[in-house]
């Protein structure tokens, strides 16, 4: 299947020739497929945002109280880190298109580095919350004991760990994808003429940072004005 693909020609009744689109080397097909896949991610996170909004409407004050305890400095730093990584990813794709393979690889490495920084900061943040007694499975997030938080706070933190956890999982997958991409570039299987894989991974990374752009205000900022 690796030999060069030559598109077939269909001939209509007037003898006119029409090029047939095959599944091989279909750049727009690959692009469309990945956009559709991104749509499923949006639906998945969308359902979680819906859940969050519903509980926010029920437990308004609890959500604001819980949010004000999150570390906005670390969360904000992470937002900046992720936005920068989206920039490096995009620059990498531009370099790939103009034929600067070396520059593209450099930019992918930069993106991986920023992704690891993001995960590191996230780990520090979760650890800090754990030492404050707030983590999945700890008493504060169980009902009916002396440390129990109010219902709204349990739900807020439950969703917080679920969504940031799932987002972090997507970051890890993204790092894996970028390493794979580098391997393919080194093997010469991704090139300026044939860069659909690079394109789609850049698209994936954009979605990952876009989701964070919504996660950040929903969790960190709603309690920003809460003085305590």
């Amino acid at each position: 299947m690796s030999h060069e693909y030559v598109p077939e020609i269909a001939i209509d009744r007037d003898g006119k020739k029409h090029e047939v689109q095959g599944w091989q080397g279909d750049f727009y097909g690959g692009k469309l497929g990945f956009w559709l896949f991104m749509l499923t991610e949006v639906m998945m996170f969308g359902a979680m945002f819906l859940t969050l909004t519903y509980y926010y409407s029920l437990h308004h004050q609890d959500f604001i109280d819980a949010s004000s305890h999150l570390n906005r400095l670390l969360g904000g730093t992470n937002t900046v880190v992720l936005l920068f990584s989206a920039l490096t990813m995009g620059l990498g794709l531009l370099k790939m298109r103009t034929g600067d393979i070396k520059g593209a690889k450099l930019m992918i490495w930069a993106t991986i580095l920023l992704a690891i920084v993001f995960l590191g900061i996230k780990a520090v943040e979760w650890r800090e919350e754990y030492t404050h007694g707030i983590f999945l499975g700890l008493d504060a997030l169980q009902s009916g004991n002396e440390h129990s938080r109010p219902f709204g706070q349990i739900l807020f933190y439950g969703m917080y760990f679920t969504m940031t956890g799932l987002h972090g999982f997507h970051i890890i997958i993204g790092i894996g994808l970028m390493l794979w991409l580098l391997k393919r570039i080194n093997a010469g299987q991704v090139s300026t003429e044939h860069h659909i894989l690079h394109f789609n991974i850049a698209l994936y990374w954009d979605l990952v940072h876009l989701i964070w752009v919504f996660v950040f205000p929903y969790y960190y900022m709603i309690g920003a004005g809460n003085v305590h």
Binding site: A10, R13, E19, G29, G33, F37, A47, I154, T162
Partner: protein, 553 residues
């Protein structure tokens, strides 16, 4: 030159070039082979699901315990539901005929992502294996019903976790199938074939693929949330932490209601293929059938609330959901009138596929219209969770989707195997199935109307007569199924060669150079400048020279 795709060596593989026939099948990326493998696995699960259902029927033959205890009974109906829904009917028509026939119908060599298709098949098998392991591990198979309603699913000690994981994996497989088909239909249609020149089955698959793509992620994340709830206690669906179990029902049905349209739309597509071919007439109202598929998919998203009329919802929401549900009946009605109008003054040929299609017209109309009665809030308060609803669901799903799946099996049988089954025996099998089916399910409408609740292990003596009639119907139905599959399997083994277009059909999958088709389908891709069902005086209008795929009529 045209070797059949079934012959040894006639395939492309995902990895390498295996020498043995076994590995050539395991690693194949050919859409026809993958579809056949889906058919084998899916129909096996169907048989298992039927056997579990028979066990339930035997148990219900008389009040009190017969062969099962109450807890096992709960596991039995859950197993029946999980197998039939997740392993059989959701992949069902799209995975089998979407794979085998859809690329042929649009003149493509394969789907857009053949390797992804291969991966998806094995993902489905993996999900099925995970579901089966939960039978023997942990606290036994789930006893929650296939809907996994919170909070019971969160508290039960049975192995719900594994079943949830399995459902998630199977959902992933479904999403990837839909994605593959969407891109295929958008990108790989033969030159000249615009959307309104596609066969109606392709329209059905197209509408279905959108539902698979947009609705499945919602149930996926709902199952993940339930899973995290069970493992970490995040509180989302747990009332003791302020969570709302009704939210689970909402999120669950946001997917699972569109899922029933995901099942029926490709099946309606099969109907739209069979009716014009066996009436030898151009389909009536092509555009309305095509667009009604799309609008059923659209409206189907907005009606999930009718599953929650008795779960606690505002009266305004109930009224809106009730009205929206009625609207689904409009495009469905349009399809039925179109099919009937197609047959009017047609040259009707009562071959087995046509018999199945006509039988479905009766059973699905009963299933569909009883659905409208329970979409009414007042009637639903009385009928929710009774045998009436069970009978409605089975008339629509078994009498709609599965009957049409069988119709498709007979219709595309010569395409898949190049041979013909015994027509007389196949017809007898249909009549057995049809009679058995109605004796099995119709009494349940009456029992349900009189108050027999679903999922109950025991019942009052006055319902016994209905359960016993159902039981005898079940025996006839199962005899019919065994008969039908025997006829088909005999047909595969020693049926007479069928030629490439035994039904005088018009769509592209019947214009192949050999029967069964060769590896890469049509010899050349044709230019499509005709409508899919053109008949003139009962004969197909469009004819091809199969060497050059140019029109010669």
């Amino acid at each position: 030159m045209s070797k059949s795709y079934l012959e040894a060596g006639e395939t492309h593989c995902a990895i390498g070039h295996p020498k043995t026939v076994f590995w050539q099948w395991m690693l194949t990326v050919d859409h026809k082979r993958i579809g056949l493998m889906y058919a084998a696995v899916i129909l096996t699960f169907f048989a298992v699901g039927v056997l579990v259902a028979l066990t339930i029927r035997i148990e219900l033959f008389a009040p009190g315990a017969q062969i099962l205890d109450g807890d096992t009974y709960n596991q039995a109906f859950t197993l029946h539901g999980v197998i039939m829904i997740f392993l059989f009917i959701i992949p069902g028509v799209p995975a089998v005929f979407g794979n085998i026939v859809m690329p042929l119908m649009i003149g493509a060599k394969d789907v857009s992502f053949p390797r992804l298709n291969w991966f998806t098949f094995w993902l489905y098998i993996f999900g099925a294996l995970v579901a089966l392991t939960s039978l023997w591990t942990g606290g036994g198979f789930a006893d929650t019903g296939w809907t996994f309603y919170a909070p019971y699913s969160l508290n039960t000690n049975t192995n719900v976790i594994t079943t949830l994981v399995a459902a998630f994996i199977l959902g992933m497989a479904s999403i990837l199938t839909g994605l593959n088909f969407l891109v295929t239909i958008h990108r790989l249609r033969a030159p000249g074939m615009d959307f309104f020149k596609m066969p109606l089955f392709v329209w059905g698959i197209y509408a279905t693929a959108w539902i698979q793509l947009l609705a499945t992620p919602v149930v996926g994340i709902t199952l993940i949330l339930a899973l995290l709830e069970k493992v970490f206690g995040i509180g989302i669906f747990d009332p003791s932490k302020g969570g709302d179990p009704v939210l689970f029902e909402h999120l669950f049905w946001i997917y699972s209601h569109p899922a029933v349209y995901l099942m029926i739309l490709p099946a309606f597509g099969i109907m739209s293929e069979i009716i014009p071919v066996f009436s030898r007439r151009e389909v009536f109202g092509y555009r309305t059938i095509a667009l009604s598929s799309a609008s059923i998919a659209g409206i189907g998203y907005l009606v999930w609330g009718h599953h929650l009329f008795t779960s606690g919802m505002s009266d305004l929401a109930k009224t809106i959901f009730s009205f929206l549900t009625f609207f689904v009946a409009i495009p469905t009605g349009i399809k039925f009138y179109d099919w009937v109008a197609t047959m009017y003054k047609g040259k009707i040929i009562l071959s087995t596929p046509m018999l199945w299609a006509l039988g479905t017209m009766i059973t699905f109309v009963i299933g569909g219209l009883t659905g409208v009665t329970i979409a009414m809030i007042g009637a639903d308060i009385h009928l929710q969770d009774t045998y009436y609803t069970v009978a409605h669901f089975h008339y629509a799903m078994l009498g709609g989707v599965v009957f049409l799946l069988f119709a498709g099996l007979h219709y595309w049988f010569p395409l898949m195997f190049g041979k013909m089954y015994n027509e007389t025996h196949a017809k007898i099998a249909f009549y057995l199935n049809f009679v058995g089916f109605n004796i099995l399910w119709f009494p349940m409408f009456i029992a349900g109307y009189q108050g027999m609740p679903r999922r109950y292990f025991d019942y009052l003596p006055e319902f016994q007569i209905y359960h016993q009639i159902s039981f005898f119907g079940a025996l006839i139905f199962i005899a019919g199924l065994i008969y039908m599959f025997t006829v088909l399997i005999k047909g595969i083994k020693n049926g007479t060669p069928s030629g490439s277009n035994p039904w005088h059909a018009t769509t592209l999958e019947w214009h192949l150079p050999s029967s069964p088709p060769p590896l890469e389908n049509h010899t050349k891709v044709p230019y499509v400048d005709f409508r899919p069902y053109e008949y003139h005086h009962g004969e197909p209008v469009v004819k091809f020279d199969y060497k050059t795929m140019q029109r010669i009529d």
